[in-house]
């Protein structure tokens, strides 16, 4: 699985980084507004995840699905991925990141999950696919890859 991944870390995980992400989200919005935060996530999606982005542009979803499996498993999330003919659905029933931040600070930023929505959109930008993220509850979401109409 990980042979296909541009980034495929192993070893321990440091979940407290999610707390720093939450602090960062609030800091950027507080100083510069939501558009600035969105632009940072756009760069993450297109530049940091350039390999996934380029695969999607080429019509290949395999690396993104492998990325989901690798990292949602590493973080011990409760999730599954359904690969269908018309769409690929990632269902996250318990997001470890969100719940870890909730444990640290009480209530995560209202924009904490923008990291997922905006980064997904950026990875898919200019590709035949759209990736739609729907927050379905506290620390839960549904992410769907489907071909654009």
């Amino acid at each position: 699985m990980s042979e296909k991944l541009r980034y495929a870390e192993e070893g321990e995980v440091h979940l407290d980084f999610h707390g720093a992400t939450n602090t960062t989200v609030d800091f950027i919005i507080g100083k510069f507004g939501l558009d600035a935060l969105n632009e940072i996530f756009r760069k993450v999606g297109k530049d940091v995840y350039r390999s996934i982005h380029e695969d999607l542009i080429a019509g290949d979803t395999e690396q993104l699905v492998a990325h989901w499996r690798h990292f949602f498993t590493r973080e011990n999330c409760d999730y599954d991925i359904d690969v269908g003919d018309d769409e690929i659905v990632l269902t996250v029933r318990r997001c470890t990141a969100w719940h870890h931040v909730a444990k640290l600070v009480g209530t995560p930023s209202a924009h904490f999950c923008d990291q997922t929505s905006r980064t997904n959109e950026a990875m898919a930008e200019g590709s035949p696919f759209a990736i739609d993220t729907t927050i379905t509850g506290p620390g839960a979401c549904r992410q769907v890859i489907r071909r654009r109409a």
């Binding site: 321990e12 440091h14 707390g19 720093a20 960062t24 100083k31 760069k43 993450v44 997922t116």
Partner: protein, 162 residues
């Protein structure tokens, strides 16, 4: 979710944006992260001193998969980072590394040592090599003496160097 494994690459994008807004903004961000980190380390330092610091970084060494040697004596704690996973990931990255990425480390921990009465000597060695040496002293004179033996001394908000 941006995986915790990829936080440093996200961090790098944040730094690049903030650098365009000015050094004062970057420092304000370091202070915000420092405040965030207090919940993980401040009480350990206040209650256990150098031993508490060793406890914190022993935990970090494991969780962040650091190649790091930790040495403590009655005067100081030394962290010798042989391979920094944070800068290593930022350099192993399809996005461009921020030139002053290493500054964040002293940027968040320096203010915490200032609050707790310890004296930090942070030798980054080089901003393009993923290794560094951090020493924390009880005694200010010993810290000042140690500053003479560094390659690239790093400052932090409220403590400029060079």
């Amino acid at each position: 979710m941006i995986p915790s494994d990829h936080y440093t690459r996200f961090y790098n994008e944040v730094f690049k944006f903030l650098e365009t807004q000015g050094d004062d903004v970057l420092e304000a961000y370091f202070l915000a992260i420092s405040h965030n980190q207090e919940k993980h380390i401040l009480e350990l330092i206040q209650s256990k001193g150098l031993e508490g610091m060793e406890e914190y970084w022993t935990h970090i060494k494991i969780e962040e998969n650091c190649d790091m040697d930790i040495d403590r004596n009655e005067d100081r704690l030394e962290l010798r980072m042989n391979v920094c996973p944070s800068l290593s990931k930022v350099m192993d990255n399809d996005a461009e590394p921020m030139g002053r990425y290493c500054d964040h480390c002293a940027g968040w921990i320096g203010p915490i040592f200032d609050k707790t009465g310890y004296h930090l000597v942070y030798d980054v060695i080089s901003r393009t090599e993923p290794r560094c040496v951090m020493r924390v002293f009880k005694d200010e004179a010993k810290a000042k003496a140690a500053e003479r033996d560094v390659q690239l001394l790093m400052g932090w908000p409220g403590h400029k160097v060079g």
